[in-house]
């Protein structure tokens, strides 16, 4: 066993330690012992000893395998190859125990047994195997109904919150949408043909439990158009302290509806009349705060769909960006044709104009939201205005220039 004095410190303290897990595996998996050794050395030298990329993969696919090699293969022979496999997760991350056992048996046989449930995109991450083990592992996975996920310049494995399976606030069937879009874009998921990665995430309500607004190029966040449903008797129960706030998840037992809900409404669209809660729904911006605080009294409306946002990414070419509303409301019903068509139009425009490693949000920054909206055939809408009082969506057409040549005025103060 390699000596790991720096890593050993990570075993102290109150938190679960990956070092402890790795040490447990090390006696039976020599590559894990080498992993501990190389990591210790990286901690000491403050540099990585990994190389990544290259040509490894499984036949026919260009995604799902991330080549990884040690730059110290003589010292750590177990890490000469240490590739990652991404396995496309089931929608909402629902597994049976049997499915998990099958997966882990395959990884015990063909890999290091180290895994990450789950990666940032949502896939199951199998960490550490040799090139010659990739194809047999892939064959066994597909025989059990699994497929590898996306990596590289491809559609990444779409992911979603558990949606209506466990959450009464979900405004559409996130898991079905995620599944359908995953099937629709199989070609682009397995055969990288985009300028860079493209992530789809589905959240059932504005709580956005999968953080799609910050972590996906395109997020579909459930929303309602009509009024928040109110059970006034439950509101009274909250006021009287008979119901606990946040379904018992808050650090106080009794809710002060005025202070904790009404006064914290960001648009101040609600007020109390005695023990009756009133909401001016036209002013509501669907922040979910009141619904989260009083889940038995308030629920999203019934006229439901999603808001589509585009463009978030971590810093690569430009700085980090959050997503931008491109469709304020889209009905989300099977077979999700409108969403599929929009996604295809966006990726087509991006593939045509994007530079290598340029995310779609960065392309929009470079070419302008106006060019994007025109290209994909979306109407400019007030909800798309990112900075109030700055309208980037004025479309100049040839007829405007002709009219100007004829002496017509565009703006008048009359």
């Amino acid at each position: 066993m390699h000596k790991t004095p720096l890593l050993d410190q990570l075993e102290s303290g109150p938190f679960p330690s990956f070092v402890k897990d790795l040490k447990r595996l090390a006696p039976t998996k020599p590559q894990v012992n080498d992993l501990l050794g190389q990591l210790e050395r990286s901690y000491k030298e403050k540099i990585t000893h990994w190389k990544h990329g290259g040509i490894v993969g499984v036949l026919g696919y260009g995604s799902g395998i991330i080549g990884r090699y040690s730059d110290l293969p003589d010292e750590f022979p177990g890490l000469e190859h240490f590739h990652t496999m991404r396995i496309n997760q089931p929608s909402g991350w629902f597994y049976t125990s049997q499915a998990l056992r099958e997966l882990f048996d395959i990884w015990d046989e063909h890999g290091s047994s180290i895994l990450n449930m789950h990666g940032a995109t949502g896939d199951i991450i199998f960490l550490g195997t040799r090139t010659e083990e990739l194809e047999p592992a892939f064959q066994k996975l597909t025989a059990k109904g699994w497929d590898i996920g996306g990596s590289g310049s491809a559609m990444r494995s779409p992911s979603c919150c558990c949606g209506p399976a466990r959450c009464e606030w979900s405004c559409y069937d996130t898991m079905e949408a995620c599944y359908q879009l995953t099937q629709e874009f199989q070609f682009d998921l397995h055969r990288p043909s985009f300028p860079y990665k493209y992530k789809l995430k589905f959240s059932g309500c504005p709580n956005d439990c999968v953080a799609s607004v910050a972590r996906s190029d395109m997020s579909m966040i459930g929303v309602w158009k009509d009024d928040i449903r109110i059970d006034q008797s439950a509101v009274e129960a909250y006021i009287g302290g008979e119901l606990k706030p946040k379904g018992g998840g808050a650090n106080v037992d009794k809710l002060d509806v005025q202070a904790d809900v009404v006064d914290l409404c960001p648009t101040q669209c609600m007020w109390l009349e005695g023990k009756t809660l009133k909401i001016n729904n036209k002013e509501c911006n669907h922040c979910m705060h009141c619904i989260n605080m009083m889940p038995q009294a308030l629920r999203p409306g019934t006229d439901v769909g999603c808001t589509v946002l585009l463009g978030s990414h971590a810093p690569i070419l430009e700085g980090a960006q959050m997503s931008w509303v491109i469709v304020p409301f889209m009905r989300m019903e099977e077979p999700f044709d409108e969403l599929k068509e929009l996604t295809a139009n966006i990726t087509e425009w991006w593939s045509e104009h994007g530079k290598n490693r340029e995310r779609v949000g960065e392309l929009i920054m470079r070419m302008g939201m106006r060019a994007f909206l025109e290209a994909v055939g979306l109407p400019p809408v007030p909800q798309s205005v990112r900075v109030p009082r700055a309208n980037p969506f004025f479309f100049w057409h040839q007829s405007d220039f002709e009219a100007e040549a004829e002496g017509r005025k565009y703006h008048t103060t009359k």
Binding site: K51, L59, S63, R191, N356, R357
Partner: protein
């Protein structure tokens, strides 16, 4: 004039082979090069011709800060 399926596969293979060692081509680069010479070639034909080359093992996807299509070669990163 649009190429037949077999002609297109060979045309793309030659493009990739010619670029080897000089420029790494992405799928979209290949599509643009094909359409430049054969503007009436449907884009989907290019997509499936690339798939044929990959499935047959004559070309492979590589990742070097982006995904490219290349002729199979010795894995540089795997060397000591």
């Amino acid at each position: 004039m649009a190429l037949s399926k077999e002609e297109l596969v060979e045309y793309i293979y030659k493009l990739v082979e010619g670029a080897q060692g000089k420029k790494q081509l992405k799928a979209k680069d290949i599509e643009k090069l094909v359409l430049k010479e054969h503007p009436d070639q449907p884009k989907n034909d290019v997509k499936f011709a690339i798939k044929d080359l990959i499935d047959g093992g004559r070309c492979v996807y590589t990742y070097f800060g982006g995904s490219f299509i290349e002729i199979p070669h010795v894995e540089g990163a795997a060397k000591h």
